[in-house]
Each structure stands twice: as structure tokens, then as C-alpha cells.
């Protein structure tokens, strides 16, 4: 086992990793920017070194300074957490070159799964369902119609060169498809300088459901069930839960199997997550794989009792997985709310500032992963998330009620934050019934509340 681990990150996830290390009697090295000198990860780690000024590019992304700190402090491993250097194959490679264990998969795997098209191809080859579509740009209307007939309607026409909605058109039948192709090409041409478009099956009202995996260095893999992460705003997850309210044992087994198959096909090692789109008929399609620990990992921990960060450390140290698939079961229901320094009533405007009062909730089934404290400054340099509240209860309804009570208790003065928004979601009748989709927040919830 490692003797000393450097945590190349900040905020709540740095604390999370420090906790897992201390439980394993591993010493911890924190790095920090000048803006973070008063942060809790600096206070809680055994050692802490400043690696640069406030901007992340010069501190938390400053690879030479981070590697130097690891070497000088005598760390034998680096945990990248999420964000920053977590999915940079280059960084994992430099760690390896310097004799430091990188707590995550190999640089090759990171690189392969980081290229979204290559990842999709690899999964398709491994037999994991991917969203059907044209393999490249479609030339003619006739070709487009042919492909659409093959993959089935509705289909979506997308600009090959761009993103962000420009050039996108949905067609529910062939007549509509032939009508929208020309304007899609024109819009794409205007926006990106290329009129090439491609086709994909359009998944209506999809859910974002992801499978948590653990794979050891000996090719043994288990899945820890799913997380439902459909509640997003601008592709940022707001609230996650486990299990998914619509999951069945059969579907979980199938999706878990698919995720394991895909991961093993790319020689995946360590904790990872396969994200799927799940349609209303229970069909699921590979979206991407996150080759790191995720923000929302606690909901899986709460229902399985497995400490995922501990497992990451054990796997990276070469330990074989201690559990088999049949040892893993989900008990009860867990929900996570991400609390950010944003004003939900002013279009989620970031609101950095000093926290004047800070009283986190407590009691049964409540877990708080937070980097905040009374008198701490939320700076504008970094991500606005400063706390996660996780509520567990035997049933989903009770977990929602527990979360509601906890969020009402949670006292934060001095900055605007998203707790009022979460409280509205928790009381929403559709949410209560578990009727979720990735457009829930933006098309239904925000529209209704006119936030």
C-alpha cells in the first residue's frame, strides 16, 4: 500500500480523498494555489505546498510544480480526483515516467476514452449499444433517407463540424427529414463553414443513467449499480440518485454487464463510470465513459456501503478486488444535492463571497461533503460547488423528505446559493413520482417556475 499520496485537487473532493487515505493510514500531501491558503484541504492534509498563483492554469494545472511537489515530498502516488488533470492522458504519462502511481486507468485508456468518436467505435466493436447513426457525413438526401429507414425515426440531423444546437433538426418521418436537410446544411455552412451533416437516432425524453464500475489490475470487474443523473441544467448535473426510480433488476443486470464488457474491452483499470442514455422503452445507448471518480459517487456509496475512493487506492496499489458481483447489493435510496454559489433566481449567476454563517445539517442518513466553513471565501477562480448533501433512507420518498429537512436546516449566509432551488425540485410532483428526463429542469421546471 502507498505510504504517501499527493492529492492534485482542491475543494470537497480533496477532503474526500484525504479522509480515505487517513482511514488507510496513508499520509497525505495537499497542493494549493495562493487563493486557497485558508482552505480546509490545506488544513486537513498532513503536508501542504503552494504550487502557484490563483488561476488554475498556473496552479492546479501546473504539472511541473505538482510533479516536483510529489517528488520532493516523497509521495508515491497522485490522486487527480475529478476535473483538472483527472482525464489528461499526458499527466498520467508524466506520473508514470516519474515513478509515481497515477490513481486511475492507464494513459492509453484515458486517451482512447477521451476521444468521443474513438470511444464510441470501441464500444460498438465490444457489442455495447451505441446511438445508431450514419458513420460519417451524409452526402445526398437519398442516402440520408436510407440511413434513417435503417435506424428508425425520429432522427436528428447534426452538423459534423459543430455543436451547440446550430444546424440541428429533428425529423419524425421521411417527409420531414427531406424538408429539414437543406436548412440544416445551410445553417451548418453559415455557422461552421462546412455544410456536412450526419444523422443519429433521436432519443426522446432520455434519462441519463450511469453505471459505476470497479476494475482491478487483474481484469476482475464488478458494477455497483446505476445512478440516475437526469436532473441537469446546461449539462451540469444538479441532483443525482441511486437507484434510478425506474430501474428493474433485469435492466440493471443488462446495463451493468454492458458497462463491464465495454470497460474490459479497453483494458480499463480502477473506478470508472459508463454513462448511458436510457429511453422510455428501456433501450440504453452508450454516451461516454468517465475515467475517474465522479462528483456524484456518494449516492452509490450510501446504497452499497462500498467506499469507492478507498477502492481506487487499493486497486492502484495493485490489490485484487475483495468483492464479487454477488456481494454487491443496493439497500435503500440515496439522493445528492450539489450546493453551488450561484443565484438560482438570477439565471444561476455565480455569487462568490464570504460565508458569514455556515451550519451544515446533521442527523440520521445525512452525509455532508463540503469544503466550506464559517468565514471562508468562495472565490471566483474555481468551480462554484462548495458542498454536497447526501440523504439516505430506506425508500425514495423518505430520502426526499430527509433531504428536504436537511436542506431547510442548512444555514448559509453571506452568499447566494442553490438550496432554495433544490427545495423546489424536491417538492415538484413530477420529481416525486420519478418522472425524469434530461430536459426536465430546462424545459419543464425552469419554464414553470420562470426562474
Amino acid at each position: 500500500m502507498f505510504r504517501k499520496v499527493l492529492i492534485a485537487n482542491r475543494g470537497e473532493i480533496a477532503l474526500r480523498i484525504i479522509r480515505a487515505c487517513h482511514e488507510l493510514d496513508i499520509r497525505t500531501v495537499a497542493i494549493y494555489s495562493e487563493a486557497d491558503a485558508n482552505s480546509l484541504h490545506v488544513a486537513y492534509a498532513d503536508e501542504a505546498y503552494c504550487v502557484g498563483p490563483a488561476p488554475s492554469s498556473q496552479s492546479y494545472l501546473n504539472i511541473p510544480n505538482i510533479i516536483s511537489t510529489a517528488l520532493i515530498s516523497g509521495a508515491d502516488a497522485i490522486h487527480p480526483a475529478y476535473g483538472y488533470l483527472a482525464e489528461r492522458a499526458h499527466f498520467a504519462e508524466i506520473c508514470r515516467a516519474n515513478g509515481l502511481a497515477f490513481i486511475g486507468p492507464s494513459p492509453e485508456t484515458i486517451e482512447r476514452m477521451g476521444d468521443k468518436a474513438a470511444a464510441k467505435r470501441a464500444m460498438e466493436e465490444a457489442g455495447v449499444p451505441v446511438i445508431p447513426g450514419s458513420l460519417g457525413g451524409v452526402e445526398s438526401d437519398r442516402e440520408a433517407a436510407g440511413i434513417a429507414r435503417e435506424i428508425g425515426y425520429p432522427v436528428i440531423v447534426k452538423a459534423a463540424a459543430g455543436g451547440g444546437g446550430k444546424g440541428m433538426r429533428v425529423a419524425y418521418d421521411e417527409k420531414e427529414l427531406l424538408r429539414v436537410l437543406a436548412p440544416a446544411r445551410a445553417e451548418s455552412e453559415a455557422a461552421f463553414g462546412s455544410g456536412v451533416v450526419y444523422l443519429e437516432k433521436f432519443v426522446t425524453k432520455p434519462r441519463h443513467v450511469e453505471i459505476q464500475l470497479l476494475v482491478d489490475s487483474y481484469g476482475k470487474a464488478v458494477h455497483l449499480g446505476e445512478r440516475e443523473c437526469s436532473l441537469q441544467r446546461r449539462h451540469q448535473k444538479l441532483l443525482e440518485e441511486a437507484p434510478s426510480p425506474i430501474m428493474t433488476g433485469e435492466l440493471r443486470e443488462a446495463m451493468g454487464e454492458a458497462a463491464i464488457t465495454g470497460a474490459l474491452a479497453v483494458n480499463y483499470v480502477n473506478a470508472g463510470t459508463v454513462e448511458f442514455l436510457l429511453d422510455s422503452e428501456g433501450r440504453y445507448y452508450f454516451m461516454e465513459m468517465n475515467t475517474r471518480i465522479q462528483v456524484e459517487h456518494p449516492v452509490t456509496e450510501m446504497v452499497t456501503g462500498v467506499d469507492l475512493v478507498r477502492e481506487q487506492l487499493l486497486i492502484a496499489a495493485g490489490e485484487p478486488l475483495s468483492c464479487n458481483q454477488e456481494d454487491i447489493s443496493m439497500t435503500g435510496h440515496a439522493i445528492e444535492c450539489r450546493i453551488t454559489a450561484e443565484d438560482p433566481y438570477r439565471k444561476f449567476l455565480p455569487c462568490p463571497g464570504r460565508i458569514k454563517t455556515y451550519r451544515p445539517p446533521g442527523g440520521p442518513g445525512i452525509r455532508v461533503d463540503s469544503a466550506a466553513y464559517e468565514g471562508w471565501d468562495v472565490t471566483s477562480y474555481y468551480d462554484s460547488m462548495f458542498a454536497k448533501v447526501i440523504a439516505w433512507a430506506p425508500t425514495r420518498d423518505r430520502a426526499i423528505n430527509r433531504m428536504r429537512a436537511a436542506l431547510r436546516e442548512f444555514t448559509i449566509d453571506g452568499i447566494a446559493h442553490t438550496i432554495p432551488f433544490h427545495l423546489e425540485i424536491l417538492d415538484d410532483p413530477f420529481f416525486r413520482r420519478g418522472e425524469l428526463s434530461t430536459d426536465f429542469i430546462e424545459t419543464r421546471f425552469l419554464a414553470k417556475n420562470a426562474l
Binding site: 485558508n38 490545506v42 505546498y49 504550487v51 496552479s59 516536483s68 511537489t69 520532493i72 515530498s73
Partner: protein, 152 residues
């Protein structure tokens, strides 16, 4: 100076970040001093559990010893994390000693980072007053290395 003028000064001082005002003319001497200026909570907190950060950049005015001397004293801090060497090679003499005059651009030490030797140059001219780090000691970003008395 009449009463209204003094009152105006009082208000102006209150509203400002200035802590003390002394005015002396041939007719009048006025001295105004503010109550504790800085946020007490802040200073208390920093005395506490957290390590006091070294603030920003490479060259800092050194406030502590500013008073007695007319010269400005500056700190030269580590621009990177690494191991500090006073000399270009183990058997070579140190780049600088206390009391040495230095020029802008003159190498002062080496910081080894990831097996690369980085020469750290002075960005002020002056006299080395103190060397704060031992040879072969690891330094973090922003750590003070030298105190230099700047040439006027």
C-alpha cells in the same frame, strides 16, 4: 482652520482607508487617529489553525522592517516548486553571499524541478541582506528566498 473644516476632515477620514492623519501648519496642529482598522475576525482567524500563506508573485515589499531604513526592502520568492541550490554545482562557490551587491538579471540560485536546473535571476538591483533558505532545501511556490535592499 475652523470647526466645519475639522468635521469635514473627520468624515473624510472615516470614509477612507486611512488610519491616521497629522496636520501641522504654522497656526494649527491636528492629529486624527482611527480606531482599530482591520477586520478583527480576519486577523484572529489567520493566527489560528491555518498556515499563513505567502502572498503573491516574485518580488514583495517587506513591510516588517520598512521603518528604520530609508531603503526599500524586497523579497525574492520562489517562482516554482523545487529544490533550492545556492551554487551551480556541488563544488562551485555560491552564486551570492549576504552583503553582495547584485544587479538585475544576475543569477542568485538554482531551483531544481523535475530534474531540470532553473537559474533564478534577480529582478531588482540591490544588496543581499538575508538568505532565507538552506542549500538543498525544498521550496514551495512563493516561498521567500532572499531579502534584498533595493538600490534607491
Amino acid at each position: 482652520m475652523n470647526l466645519d473644516e475639522i468635521k469635514e476632515l473627520l468624515q473624510a477620514l472615516s470614509a477612507s482607508d486611512v488610519a491616521e492623519l497629522e496636520l501641522e501648519t504654522d497656526k494649527v496642529r491636528l492629529h486624527l487617529k482611527k480606531a482599530v482598522v482591520f477586520a478583527p475576525q480576519e486577523s484572529q482567524r489567520n493566527e489560528g489553525t491555518f498556515p499563513r500563506p505567502l502572498v503573491t508573485g516574485q518580488v514583495l515589499p517587506l513591510e516588517v522592517s520598512a521603518a528604520p531604513s530609508e531603503q526599500e526592502t524586497v523579497i525574492i520568492a520562489a517562482p516554482m516548486v523545487g529544490t533550492f541550490y545556492r551554487a551551480p554545482a556541488p563544488d562551485a562557490p555560491p552564486y551570492v553571499e549576504v552583503g553582495d551587491s547584485i544587479e538585475e538579471g544576475q543569477p542568485l540560485c538554482i531551483i531544481e524541478a523535475m530534474k531540470l536546473m532553473n537559474e533564478i535571476e534577480a529582478d531588482v538591483a540591490g544588496i543581499i541582506k538575508e538568505i532565507l533558505v538552506e542549500n538543498e532545501q525544498p521550496v514551495e511556490y512563493g516561498q521567500p528566498l532572499f531579502i534584498v535592499e533595493k538600490l534607491a
